[in-house]
Subunit: 718 residues, 2 copies
Amino acid sequence: MEILLIIVGIAVILAVAYAVFNFFSVKKMEEGTERMSEIAGAIRVGANAFIRYELKIVAIIGAVIAVLLAAFISWQAACAFIIGAVMSASAGWVGMKIATYANVRVTNRARETKDLGKTLKVAFKGGSVMGLCVAGFALLGIIIVYLIFGLACGQIEDIANGNVQTYWTGLDASFTMTVSGYALGCSIIALFNRVGGGIYTKAADMGADLVGKTEAHIPEDDPRNPATIADNVGDNVGDVAGLGSDLLESYVGAILSGVILACELFLHNAGFSSEFLTKLMLFPILLAGGGLLACLVGIGYVLIKPKLSSNVHMELNIATWISAALAVVAGFLLSFFIFKDEDAFYEAVGWKAANFSPWLASVFGIVAGIVIGLISEYYTSYDYKPTKRIANASKEGAALNITQGLSNGMISCMLPVAVLAIAIFGSYMVGGMYGVACAAVGMLSFVAATVSVDTYGPISDNAGGIAEMSGLDEDVREITDKLDSVGNTTAAIGKGFAIGSAALAALSLMTSYLYAFTETDIMLNIIDPLTLCGALCGAALPFLFSGMLINAVAKAARKMVDEVRRQFNEIPGILEGEAKPDYKTCIEISSQGSIKEMRFPCILAICFTVLSGFIFGAEFVGGILIGATITAIMLALFTGNAGGAWDNAKKYIESGGLKGLGKGSPAHDASVVGDTVGDPLKDTVGPSLDILIKIMSTLSLVLVVVFSQYNLFSLLGL
Amino acid sequence: MEILLIIVGIAVILAVAYAVFNFFSVKKMEEGTERMSEIAGAIRVGANAFIRYELKIVAIIGAVIAVLLAAFISWQAACAFIIGAVMSASAGWVGMKIATYANVRVTNRARETKDLGKTLKVAFKGGSVMGLCVAGFALLGIIIVYLIFGLACGQIEDIANGNVQTYWTGLDASFTMTVSGYALGCSIIALFNRVGGGIYTKAADMGADLVGKTEAHIPEDDPRNPATIADNVGDNVGDVAGLGSDLLESYVGAILSGVILACELFLHNAGFSSEFLTKLMLFPILLAGGGLLACLVGIGYVLIKPKLSSNVHMELNIATWISAALAVVAGFLLSFFIFKDEDAFYEAVGWKAANFSPWLASVFGIVAGIVIGLISEYYTSYDYKPTKRIANASKEGAALNITQGLSNGMISCMLPVAVLAIAIFGSYMVGGMYGVACAAVGMLSFVAATVSVDTYGPISDNAGGIAEMSGLDEDVREITDKLDSVGNTTAAIGKGFAIGSAALAALSLMTSYLYAFTETDIMLNIIDPLTLCGALCGAALPFLFSGMLINAVAKAARKMVDEVRRQFNEIPGILEGEAKPDYKTCIEISSQGSIKEMRFPCILAICFTVLSGFIFGAEFVGGILIGATITAIMLALFTGNAGGAWDNAKKYIESGGLKGLGKGSPAHDASVVGDTVGDPLKDTVGPSLDILIKIMSTLSLVLVVVFSQYNLFSLLGL
């Protein structure tokens, strides 16, 4: 069986090689004029400085966690944790690096060729580096952990022999713990990248808009605005590095929840053969490997096709569809052949469709992901009613714009959740709880393609900024704007994937959590008072976390506002374009502000479950997990869709959707208020909530063996 | 034992008699000048017309439900349903009636005496009619149901004999069903009063503000604004009738969930004596009766005290504290003496503190209610940091005011929920699930006092409006403004009580629901896929419901805006005060708009659980209930506190809190946007969510015996 890992190994090698090739092929392109080089250089320096500083902090926190893991869980878990953190950080770092090279080259390509298709190719090539690295590094780490700890250290054999290794605390410290450690490593990086990056990008964005657009009435990305470089840096650290680590974490979480469930199923079902255990453990990894191979084809389509059409959205969709379709085929073959002769065990894992079960379940995930994405598009694109309604309400002023946006966002929660529920129920029906994990892996199996598409968006956004700041011709900006606007739609769809997969991964992890401390049937009685209280407090946590994040952005943005105002007042000739603004100070303010403000929300995310576990025990934490997961899904959908719709309602007015009311009209002013309110909601709060629920489940899973035995409440006999 | 019901009977008679006395003593006061009479008359006519129209619709829906109940559950449940609906409708109607008499008399008393204390007395006398009727009518109905169906029809004896009566469908149709029917009757009225009234009041308010304040720059309640009478009508139908039926429903829900739990505990514990059953059933009713007697003293304090001090807030607090303290004493005596000789059964009901258990549990509820109220005050009053921060953020414009308010509202969820969790856990620890029901009854035991205080607010608000519209002296308005501002604070505290008690009542009802279809231990396994999917969809429901409500208000408000604009344009001399605006059309628009817009949310609230039950069965509905309850609590806290804080941030700026930035400054304009956004959130969405979760649990409880046996999923064998 393990021989099949070679397929995954090949997929990883191909993906990384392709990423390296694309990286250097982008890097060796021309940067364009001196002014363009200069601006791109400033963005690059700013982004590097922030990531380096952020990583330093994460390294310290990571080291502390690694030591604690080694002391209380196992040295294997600690090592796996470090590997996970390194993989996640590397993917984010490489992706950001290439994004800061690609942006200016996209501008230059547009400037030289004035061809949409050729420009798209550069932007997508840049994005593909991130997409391939996310999937490649994640799988690479998993293979390493599997080979070293699972096979070489014999942890899988221990499980197969029912000889679950114990550590000095006398606790279960088996392969499941090692694997959870790996997932936790990815989570920690994702948390900091997402939260830190999210605060950075929106503080700079809001700061630039609040003074530049609203007070000084200069356009976006105008070089006279001192915060404009910081704004562009923000796109790279938030939308590129943040997104990359986020989806890498979901991907890892989904795959490993399948692996962990496999172990737990084995330990709870006496009759399983050890070979079946291996198959169950390997299938999610293989499915992911197959998906990665599929993505190589899909990505290759855009990069190799000689002449891309000018319908950018369609070309990107084709790439995604090719990847998804091939992933489905790969999943079918894998499921069919791997589980072909194992009928004896189907009943025990709850498989209703024999060896097709894992495949069918993964298809549920894939379809659900796409449908949720389409629903997000309906609620946020201005081609449809909801967003048009917000634009119309802007005619009555900012208050009704906000009201309509809130209402739209709230209403938009039901459909995606219903789809998610159908996917959960369907995948459970065909494949038991293992099926739900497969659905999560399925949804993310073509993550390399979706991340490539998602990353191309901020690269194009940056390219437009550089065109504006370098004073290039209007037609250059037109090309980058077209790329950017497609990027906005793909971003909305990507957000649907992110929350959908986070929900499925969190639920599978939660099931593994319950397996870890319940003896018989897995069960979480929500009407048990301790669990119920946990669910109530857990449900309030995403609200608290979101509120803190919004506060953090607002605080950092206010500092930026003060600085931009100061520069406008104190540097003479700045608004006439005669004096150069001090970009560097703004970058520093954003950096320091986000580093400072991200501490509390991150500490809350980490400590809330840990402390609750050691005080109230495992049932309470179970309640917290379910309560937090449920409200986080709702809030993520609400903030994502409300924010996206506000943004596009503004764009609709700008594009002349309301007759006679364009830029500068009172309706447009009202829509700018909505857009500004939506910014931190959709780009900081929503994505961070995805991470919150995953890091909570992963942390609890790692610690459950400790706090289910040692907690204050059980010590007090309550 | 039943002889003790006489105490409750006496309390009811005293309360109703006192209410009648206060009603007529207010009515016979002078109305003041002709202009005042005229305005008050217009408000009264508008309010009556709306309530009459609304009740007609409810009567039709109620008749349909009653027939269905009679056909599928039992004729007793149908009768009890009608009694409940009549009691709830009467309380709302009487309260609104007196409010429309009291408002102008408060203005007149202020005009004649210029004395704050004497004016307070009139306003509070008006409010007390509502408070006393809410508690009196609720208990009256319960006594009737208990005597007729429980005793005369022998339904309690049937339970005591374990001979649970069955109906032609072959289903359990015992006393629990009858009692649930009564609660459902109260719920239906509360739903329509709250939702309809909430839409009415905010459509009129927003409509009046959006044109009057923002466009025409005329002050609030200015007689030149055509929507101003509609706005004042709205206070009466929304804040008086709506609030009254809402709290009556919570009160009934809390008491009856105790009664139902008592029956279920008896049926699930073979060894119970029938006398202990009677005691368990009667205790919540007696506790409520004791509380009502306590309130008579508390209310009497304000009304009888010869000279009230000018510290209005303190005087009202004293009344509440007297009521609460005496209710605690009454609870102690009742618990101690009733359960004195029943040690044999304590273990079976989970009582850890012997016969003190129910009392201790009720104290948990009372304390939690007060603490949650105080927390609401912290997050919404401008004496504290959070609201000041919103006011400060207004300096940077509307967007940051909104952002800060959202963040404040989100953060404010955690503390009240933690208090609620402690109350649930504590009351469970001392008294089992029955203890949680007692906590709910405890929290509401002095409801007569809190409703009196809550109702005095809108009466004073109206009085101020009448003073303004009649062109009375500035010092009259000053007195009513003082009363009104205290009313705002008490309203925030009242909202804390409303959501806290709704949560506890919903949870106890949910436990009863689980008892009704689980054979052994009550349990709801949230990780079971059907329950989990139910929880996900249930969690999205309050978001959908809230979104629809906001939409409804915005739609109705937009119609009002158009009408007010039309009148300003078409009626010459209206803004100079030379021509009279057409108030009637505005009232009609508000009436028709709210009647039309309330249909969908109400139908959703009723049909969602019912349809789900008949399709997916009882476990799925269990999931819906828990999911919806959890997110509804969060959203109610979020909307209530965010809205309250926005309102008060505006008041803070108006009162000169930001140096140099008063009325008319850009910061004030920004804060008006926040206030307008917050209006439908705090006065329509939040209160309606309280009802949503209660009506869902009540409905499910009534129907569970049917759909646990007949549902599509079990028919399909899934």
